[in-house]
Point group: C2
Chain length 342, copies 2
């Protein structure tokens, strides 16, 4: 049983500043993309590990649903060993690592460069090994605010790619919505506090928690499970795709089985809603993180589905803080990461 608690850490102090700093690199992103597209773009690879792979699910979805070029998304070591046949000149590789030192990811940047691909790093600082290995680095300069600015850096590169390759879209409206994000995502965190507290309190002592998500929101569920529940709380978790759930995983659900379901407002929402109907019926311990609770001021209704994957991912960071507080388990505690060689 959880007995010790820790004070709830507040929303990160530099939140708006870090997101605004990411936004300030918009013109640099557009200029880089213009150069890449004019040089002949064949395809895009999204590469990273853990939370940094998570951060690119929204743009994987965005590009796959709209772009005229193929997009691939994979773990850095898988990328290094798989050696995709389509990687080479004409490829743009977006590699991400918070510290810029993740060894597989730094290796991925070097490997990609060696094939003739263009490489952009999305990372904290511009002097890390990853940033140095890339053609260009987009940064957020914060140790505390990571998920939101990383989402913005990925997003503005993806929209620049769509616009530059001639895909129709109201890019001025999208830009306006992005410029609202420092405030909108800050407010979303405030709006999510009660739900985050409810979930963390209800599930603090549960032995196994499943987390479901789909479409552009898959990363929010996967990242919460992998990086927060398991890595930072040492809790057992299974992350499954909300549609795949019905083809196996759902058989473990009983009325006492905790499940967290993320619901966004994109085209895949009906899949998450189907999952919610099932959970409503068969477990008393379902918790729904529905982006509709976020007001997202400045984001017009028709663009919410593009933004809600980032809002859900940011919610995960607050949910982790509530787990930390309720369970008295510091998010910085590690058994292996940064502790031992592996």
């Amino acid at each position: 049983m959880t007995t010790a608690t820790l004070p709830l850490k507040p929303i990160t102090e530099d939140f708006k500043e870090a997101v605004a700093f990411a936004l300030s690199q918009h013109e640099a992103a557009r200029a880089f993309v213009a150069e890449v597209v004019e040089g002949g773009l064949r395809n895009v690879f999204l590469v990273g590990c853990g939370g940094s792979l998570t951060a690119s699910y929204p743009v994987h979805f965005l590009l796959e649903t709209r772009a005229g070029f193929p997009v691939f998304h994979m773990n850095s070591d898988e990328f290094n060993l798989r050696k995709p046949a389509l990687l080479g000149e004409g490829s743009l590789v977006l590699v991400s690592s918070h510290t810029g030192t993740t060894k597989e990811t730094v290796a991925a940047a070097h490997y990609a460069k060696s094939t003739g691909a263009k490489v952009a790093a999305l990372t904290r600082d511009d002097d890390s090994p990853l940033a140095q290995a890339a053609d260009i680095a987009f940064t957020y300069r914060s140790e505390d605010t990571v998920v939101a600015p990383k989402g913005v850096l990925f997003g503005q590169l993806a929209y620049a790619l769509l616009e530059k390759t001639g895909v129709e879209g109201d890019y001025a409206a999208i830009r306006k919505a992005y410029e609202a994000l420092p405030d909108a995502l800050y407010t979303a965190q405030e709006e999510g506090e009660a739900l985050a507290h409810t979930i963390a309190t209800a599930l603090a002592d549960e032995p196994v928690t499943y987390v479901l998500s789909a479409g552009p929101n898959y990363g929010a569920g996967y990242g919460f499970t992998m990086c927060y529940l398991m890595e930072m709380q040492w809790k057992h978790g299974g992350s499954y795709h909300a549609g795949e759930f019905f083809h196996g995983a759902f058989e473990v659900v009983t009325e006492d089985q905790p499940v967290i379901l993320f619901l966004g407002e994109d085209a895949t929402r009906p899949m998450a809603e189907r999952t919610r109907r099932f959970l409503d019926k068969y477990t008393r311990k379902a918790h729904y993180v529905d982006s509709r609770i976020f007001s997202l001021p400045g984001v017009p209704e028709e663009l919410r589905g593009d933004i809600t994957p980032i809002a859900l991912d940011v919610f995960g960071t607050r949910l982790a803080r509530h787990y930390e507080s309720v369970r008295g388990h510091d998010l910085d505690k590690r058994r292996y990461m940064f502790q031992v060689e592996y």
Copy 2:
């Protein structure tokens, strides 16, 4: 504690026959692929749910590492709602469902056809809704032997695509190895029995089991977790990519934490070996399913990595039978699937 047991069901009686029947459709596969490629092939989509999505991981890897066209791999409902921008004329969609009645997958076939794509069904019988919705159906006509012939049907289509699109390779040698599969995969099951019994006995009463795999073998680990451990044994499980494991999930490992790791013989083996080194050090309950225990007669050394993903996937079916026997939990028992509407 597990007390009841069930008799161990033998290797399926029609195993060799079902695999041979899949192999007998080789010329039909080549003729279909020739027509598709000559009509102008732009890309390939691999679509299915659960075990049928699992079955296409090996060819996703195979094509991504060798083909000159892009390949995409996704759950049927994700496909239907995502509506990939590159889907349409010039697309080949390989859709799979054992019964041929999985509603999302039948819908995927209809949707793909409506965009102008060519659709091939990989399914049990040629008179199911899925087979009827597709341009062509490749079948295995068995209720009991599913994984191996499905793997063969996917594989021979993939090699036909590589050969027809001019990718270099010793296709005669590959064909010879495939023709050895009815016997080789049967023998592999016999060779795996002792290990399967050991794992099932050791982990029968464990509350949570993690399963790790990567590269073309990812499906073997994912499918075992999703379809056997969770669906057919109602056991808690988490399936993670062996490389991603180091970016979060590994923090839950203690000396008492069961983990099953699948190791194949393809280019991603070093990633699985890194994971094994970690598990050797930090848990006493690691179990390794290393394809090197399979002799695979008729498969030359240099082609083993192409075949081992199927062998590992087939091993999963035997491991499930051993769990069934040791735990006395019938693999046919379901709470929801085929029992209720969802």
